[in-house]
Symmetry: C2
Subunit: 200 residues, 2 copies
DNA sequence: GTCTATAGCGGGATAGAC
DNA sequence: GTCTATCCCGCTATAGAC
């Protein structure tokens, strides 16, 4: 028997814990992990910093939980996009389009790793390992889609699917980074070009 | 008459000032602008924090000076690469190769903007404006090279040169970001793919 | 131009009352 | 579970002696 119970339609490990995760996830779409504080979180939730420490003793704990939380979220989003798609090429189009909507409006829900990656070396080993695993999983998914789509003649690119996937993810990450400085049009240009270069 | 004089072969606005800039530039290749402190700088120089404030009153001043300093540096590097190249396609190859050497070993000397961009919204307006100008200049240079190279039949890509340039720079930026988490092979894969996708 | 000393802030984290 | 109060740290920045 699990440590949680169903209450109505939501898990009751702790409603507050879930609420904190959701609020933190929202903050992460605007700031990096290192850039938001327990104080920011507390203000949005209308409680005190110390209360957050009760649910997540250290910020590292919060980071790990957040990565898990987002792994589920983006997994569900990918499943939805893949389910709707008529084939691998169409799936790639949907993914890129969703990236554009989501990165511009709410941040990186498709591949949450970006907001952590920014902090690079400053991350703890625990968080970095978790992040790496998540990123590689996503990379592999995209690489497989690219290979399938090329096999079906739906897209065209040279070289290894894995390198192509790496380049596309890196470009999305870099464009998201550049957005506050160069504006949204820069980001749109990158997404447009990624689709065009595949022949989508 | 300029505010500086030549002494031997180097400028004497202030040797120390120049030394600080160079040390800061080196730090920026490993950390972001927000991530290094006057304390880090002071330790490397063997002086105290307060002495650095004497040369750069605020960190913002240092940031602006740093962007100017690097604009010169990367300008010289571009000039060198363009001078050695046999044509626009060869120039692009040399630039990408240099990015790979330099980003992996010493940081982003080719396009210094990356280390600032990481800090995104946290930057002051002054620094952000300066950064934007530098980034756009570099973007334009790459776009022109791409256009010329395509005109000469040396490279192939679809769409606007400006979008292609934006995508390439974003990919390099994103790959540099990911390097501490995913390792050097990820970065190499991106550079490899960027060249391959152009047909270089 | 460099130093010591310190102010002021905001970050993460803890102790203990309620 | 949440609160108040507090600690310790590192950061930018300033004042004033040398």
């Amino acid at each position: 028997m699990p440590a949680y119970q169903l209450v109505g339609s939501c898990l009751a490990v702790s409603d507050r814990k879930q609420q904190i995760l959701e609020t933190a996830a929202e903050l992460l779409t605007h700031k990096s992990f290192a850039a938001f504080s327990y104080q920011d979180l507390a203000e949005r939730l209308g409680i005190r910093k110390a209360s957050i420490h009760h649910h997540f003793a250290t910020k590292d704990d919060l980071g790990v939980a957040l990565l898990g939380f987002w792994r589920e979220r983006s997994g569900a989003m990918m499943a939805e996009l893949l389910g709707d798609a008529t084939g691998p090429g169409d799936a790639l189009t949907r993914i890129l389009d969703r990236c554009e909507e989501v990165l511009l409006d709410m941040g990186n829900q498709v591949c949450p790793a970006g907001a952590f990656e920014v902090d690079g070396q400053a991350l703890s080993d625990r968080v970095r390992e978790e992040l790496k695993a998540e990123k590689l999983t996503f990379l592999e998914q995209i690489a497989e889609l690219l290979q399938a789509a090329r096999g079906a003649g739906e897209v065209a690119f040279l070289g290894e699917p894995r390198d192509q996937a790496a380049t596309m993810l890196a470009a999305l990450q870099g464009a998201r980074q550049a957005e506050p400085v160069l504006g949204r049009e820069f980001f749109r240009g990158v997404v447009r070009q990624l689709k065009r270069s595949l022949g989508l």
